[in-house]
């Protein structure tokens, strides 16, 4: 009797399991718990980053070791490590909230892909910011070999080859880290810097040296400006409800900070 009932029971159990697995409407992912920034009281910090003093002499890269690079941009293009406009505006500075943000705030992780190109045997853009968990896609636009070598101390370092023009490689950083260096060991001059942060309050200065951090909840923040050659500068800024604060950073030739 027991054996006769065992087979139908097993069948029913299996069918029930399949039915449960095939359930078409999984419960929606729970919204992240924690405080949300109130747009009604959110403020901003904006400003410019400049370089004071005698501008460093421009440096030129030697791309002679790869004919494909020479064909793309010439044998000795200008090094983009230091880009200073005539009015002193400093480009490629990563500005972000380093401290002061209430850790109870939570932010949705963006699903938009941050793009980093290898073009003319240089990384374009040279400095970018991404969020923890946000995908970054590195593309080889050159008709030559590149390798993408992430030099990181907190996140997992990696080294991947991109031998084909049009190769794409996605990566997601799992922890905040300012900055992660991307190198190409085939072309020693190729460098990109990625600021990985856990919140949306970061910016990279353009040619005019300006930056803007929007949507900040009221509070007192440590803002850090990072430049690959000149080091770091910090400022403490208090943002009141709906207040737009201005702050500026001035770098000099001597490297500062870490």
């Amino acid at each position: 009797m027991r054996t006769r009932l065992l087979a139908p029971s097993l069948l029913l159990g299996t069918l029930a399991t399949f039915a449960a697995c095939a359930s078409p409407a999984p419960p929606p992912a729970p919204a992240p718990k924690g405080k949300r920034v109130d747009p009604a009281t959110a403020g901003s910090i904006s400003g410019t980053v400049t370089f004071a003093g005698r501008k460093p002499a421009p440096r030129y890269l030697n791309m002679g070791s790869d004919p494909a690079c020479v064909e793309a941009v010439g044998a000795r293009p200008r090094d983009q490590a230091v880009v200073i406009a005539n009015n002193g505006a400093l480009a490629n500075v990563f500005v972000y909230v380093k401290a002061g943000l209430d850790p109870d705030y939570t932010f949705d992780t963006p699903t938009t892909v941050v793009s980093l190109e290898q073009k003319g045997c240089e990384y374009v853009p040279r400095v970018i910011g991404v969020r923890v968990g946000q995908p970054i896609e590195v593309t080889n636009d050159d008709p030559t070999f590149h390798n993408v070598h992430a030099v990181s101390t907190i996140n997992q370092p990696f080294n991947r080859g991109q031998p084909m023009q049009g190769s794409r490689e996605r990566h997601v950083f799992t922890a905040p880290e300012v900055m992660v260096e991307f190198k190409c060991d085939v072309h020693r001059w190729m460098t990109a810097w990625i600021g990985v942060v856990a919140h949306p309050f970061f910016a990279v200065t353009g040619a005019d040296g300006s930056f803007r951090l929007d949507g900040l909840p009221p509070g007192t923040y440590t803002i850090e400006a990072w430049h690959e050659t000149f080091g770091t500068k910090t400022a403490t800024v208090t943002v009141g409800p709906s207040q737009a604060q201005l702050t500026s950073f001035t770098f000099t030739a001597a490297k500062t900070g870490k």
């Binding site: 070791s65 790869d66 004919p67 494909a68 030559t144 070999f145 390798n147 070598h149 370092p157 990696f158 080294n159 991947r160 080859g161 031998p163 190409c184 060991d185 085939v186 072309h187 020693r188």
Partner: protein
């Protein structure tokens, strides 16, 4: 036997070329320009198109190709020894060389796959020198002057002991150099001959300590080498099998110190940096040859010529 000696000389020369190529890989920071191993960007190693050997790939893939050639030559050596060499210990030395070159290849692959961890990279550099020593030893003990010396060998116990010390110290110095290179401490003290304007560094960090140890090591090796060379010159001037390598050692040490200074003063110019690596290897094997020749008297067993 003469062809065996020529073959071992070829292998030793190829190994020096391999060490030099490896020096160029580290000096140009090309170690990770080929991210995969044993393939090269997915190609089977020997199928990688030569016209794609650009930038750092030229050094890294070139190093791999030369390493493969040395590997094949070592396999050939084992076969050659097995066919013509009557001395069992020499045949065993060949097997040891083969084991070393296989281990060296694996270490080279691992250091690429694990993104150049210092312990693996330093071991790779250290084993390279041991393998070079093995090939030079094989070249020496298969030579006519070793097998059929024209004059009685020198029997100088104190020189033997001091030569063993010198060779060991040179090897330690080579390891210190490799540690300095792979930990990025090559310019931790950016001035020469003084350290930041002082005899002793006024500040101590790990890179400065490694760098300074290499400088102190150079001084110790130079003093001991000069003492040993002076001994050879004063006691055994009639023995060219000792005076020749002693003179060569003197020249190599002078060259090596000059190159070491230039490495610092040129901020690690890749070719100078590499010549420093290669000359370091030559100092080691010259010291080894001198040491082995002081031990020649112990090898009393006559070997028939083939």
């Amino acid at each position: 036997m003469r062809w065996l000696h020529r073959y071992t000389c070829l292998l030793a020369a190829a190994t020096l070329l391999l060490i030099t190529a490896g020096g160029m890989v580290t000096s140009t920071s090309s170690g990770l320009s080929v991210p995969d191993w044993p393939t090269t960007y997915g190609y089977q190693m020997f199928a990688f198109p030569l016209n794609r050997m650009v930038g750092g790939i030229f050094y890294e893939h070139g190093h791999r190709l030369i390493a493969s050639a040395v590997g094949f030559l070592t396999i050939g050596l084992v076969v050659f020894l097995w066919r013509v060499e009557p001395r069992r210990w020499v045949r065993r030395l060949g097997w040891l060389a083969l084991a070393a070159v296989i281990a060296q290849g694996v270490l080279g692959g691992l250091t690429v796959l694990f993104l150049l961890p210092d312990p693996i990279s330093i071991s790779h550099a250290g084993l390279a020198q041991i393998f070079f020593c093995l090939t030079v030893t094989l070249a020496l003990v298969t030579s006519r002057t070793w097998l059929r010396p024209t004059r009685p060998s020198v029997d100088d116990a104190s020189l033997r002991t001091r030569m063993v010390w010198l060779t060991a110290l040179v090897y330690v110095q080579v390891l210190l150099g490799a540690t300095m290179r792979h930990t990025g401490a090559g310019l931790a003290i950016p001035t020469f001959p003084l350290a930041f304007g002082h005899l002793l560094p006024p500040v101590w960090t790990t890179p400065i300590a490694i760098h300074f140890s290499h400088r102190v090591g150079a001084l110790v090796v130079t003093i001991l080498a000069l003492a040993n060379i002076a001994t050879v010159w004063s006691r055994h001037r009639g023995h060219p099998e000792l005076t020749r390598p002693a003179l060569l050692l003197l020249l190599e040490i002078a060259t090596q110190i000059t190159l070491g200074a230039l490495v610092v003063l040129t901020a690690r110019q890749p070719i100078i940096n590499t010549l420093h690596v290669a000359t370091g290897a030559l100092v080691l094997v010259t010291s080894l040859v001198l040491t082995l020749r002081t031990f020649r008297v112990r090898f009393i067993q006559a070997v028939p010529a083939s």
